[in-house]
Assembly symmetry: C2
């Protein structure tokens, strides 16, 4: 891997006591955001890049914790001295989004009205709410305008939303493996995942914290299903094929094929630590995302609101958000004469490609950021 | 719709007291098959067509029951006087497969060893076992050789297996929307569906009959997931798009999008009547299907065992069993100089296309059968 890791990092916490009006009509009276930063903010505050996370991500984007050397950030391969998000040049901010389960205010936080965990009473969150909360954090950090906001998948939607909500506060958006809105099939997969959680007897209407239970079965199913949509059919075939765990059929319902072993392992691992209410909120934020609703569905009109330069990246084998979905964004930007670069990368890892280290992919991001003025 | 329905039909039952040795090593001491027939078997017994059902199908393929005029067979549109499977010319047989839940011996039948329902003790069933049981039914009906065996999806796999197990007893195979074996992604979807059922607290290790429960939650999730894979992304988009049930976001976990309403309805309907143990068995039969295992994975060698003529049909928007999977079968047949016709039909209904009425699709089947000698 070219470049270096940022090394040991520390998470920080910011408290915001001004109420936040949410897209759903709800109000958060106050909230915490947990975040990390890498590199140094310049005197002009003009070299900051915000990294937005996807469904199951968080603020620990790069480096490791001094006391947990194996706890490496989820996008470490792209951040650090000499890496595409070069910390010798940029000040990088990672934040756990509202509704999350990694320290920022979310369903497992105490509801000030009751003193008990919010649970199912936590208000529904939209991508635009995350942008509002991130804007407060930018204020706090002294960042008037982001040099860039970058993200993959749901993270890309936040970058896109920044260009619409705050065109004057974002100079570049890097939107990777994303879409201007979910398709019916995308929503369908999300709904099956949610129904798995909502119908788990241990869910208790979202108030499982008070019952000493967790809807582990539902969350495990949701994650297993999610994983199928993150990988490409080709990659699954190459990696697992029809390989049998024990060489021959056992004719029972235990693991027979390697792919079953992989999926169940991923499901178990995720269900062991992630919060189900957060999973529900994140999938709903995905479903709701549709900024062109501002303009009666006319994405061209919505993109006319933007001022940023754009890099849009898609992956050939991503069937969750296909290259065609990225091209919808590109077309709407071009229709408005916006400055947009587009790359369709041939990578075999499906939707998860955006997390992978690849010379072509990372080269495109590095080249784009290399041309940014700070 | 051209042609006519076969009209009122009756289900019949055949008892087989000779033990059946199964692929899994298990033995069924005796079994029942429930079946229906349409048309008249000729004196030579040479005009019989077997229709094999897929995951959730059964023996009621065409017509209706005299006392249930709305209970129309699942493939009525292709069977009847003047229809592609023309009952003026052919004697059509539909059978509920072993392990089913529509009258043939299955997990809800009494285990003769205990007098209680088999439940989870019902032996695992392979496609080749269905063919063995169907061969017994053919003997009983006086059919030495099928004019054709036809099926879509898992039904197509049975037609294919017939050509390998009994090359001398099948003159034509019509294999629709099928594959020579499942891909890792296919198995992955099946495993998530099974895990939904197996981890449902009402499953009771498969002995739910005795607990007065049914794993309705798990079965519902399995069917919702299945439905996503049966439909094409395009069709879902055209049919449901992002249409909202109530015109605007309600910001809760009830149905918001029409696609959610459709999927939950399909899930509820299915879970209300289908047997979960049968669902498990059927998905395992899909996973196990891989006739080329007979020849160390060499499908060409396996197809060399066949003697039948073939019609292979695939659908452009089927992403469960893509046209490429059908072409694998065609290529292996051509490599052996077998007589094979192949049609790739442009239809927008995904995997479910095989159940649809379409002039081109039905025309291809009618033309092929029109050339069969009886």
């Amino acid at each position: 891997m070219p470049g270096q890791s940022v090394g040991a990092v520390k998470a920080q916490r910011a408290r915001f006591n001004q109420p936040l009006q949410l897209r759903s009509g709800g109000i958060l009276p106050a909230f915490d955001l947990v975040y990390e930063t890498y590199g140094t903010l310049n005197a002009a505050g003009s070299n900051a890049i915000l990294v937005c996370h996807a469904l199951s991500g968080h603020h620990h984007v790069a480096g490791h914790y001094a006391d947990q050397p194996d706890n490496v950030g989820w996008w470490d391969n792209i951040i650090g001295p000499g890496r595409p998000l070069d910390t010798d040049r940029f000040f990088i901010v990672g934040v756990n989004n509202l509704g999350g389960c990694h320290g920022s205010t979310g369903p497992s936080s105490a509801n000030p009205a009751t003193g008990k965990p919010w649970g199912a009473d936590f208000p529904m969150i939209a991508v635009s709410d995350w942008v509002e909360a991130q804007a407060r954090l930018a204020d706090r950090l002294g960042i008037d305008s982001w040099a860039a906001v970058i993200g993959g998948s749901l993270g890309g939607m936040q970058a896109l939303r920044w260009t619409i909500s705050y065109p004057e506060r974002i100079r570049h958006a890097i939107v990777i493996a994303s879409a201007p809105k979910l398709s019916a099939q995308n929503i369908a997969f999300n709904d099956v995942a949610r129904q798995a959680i909502l119908t788990d007897p241990d869910f208790h209407g979202g108030h499982y914290y008070e019952h000493g239970t967790r809807p582990v079965r539902g969350l495990r199913l949701a994650r297993m299903l999610g994983h199928i949509t993150y990988l490409s059919d080709d990659q699954m075939g190459e990696k697992f094929g029809r390989e049998l765990r024990n060489g021959s059929f056992s004719f029972d319902f235990d693991v027979e094929f390697e792919i079953e072993s992989y999926l169940r392992y991923q499901g178990d691992k995720f269900a062991g630590h992630f919060d189900a209410n957060t999973y529900l909120l994140m999938t709903k934020a995905l479903d709701y995302f549709d900024p062109a609703r501002l303009d009666d569905g006319d994405l061209n009109a919505t993109m006319a609101r933007t001022r940023a330069g754009f890099l849009v990246v898609s992956f050939s084998t991503d069937w969750r958000f296909t290259p065609a979905r990225s091209r919808e964004i590109v077309a709407a930007l071009l229709a408005n004469g916006r400055d947009v670069s587009y790359a369709e990368i041939g990578l075999n890892f499906g939707h998860d490609s955006f997390l992978m280290e690849d010379a072509h992919y990372h080269g495109v991001v590095a080249a784009y950021l290399g041309n940014i003025k700070t």
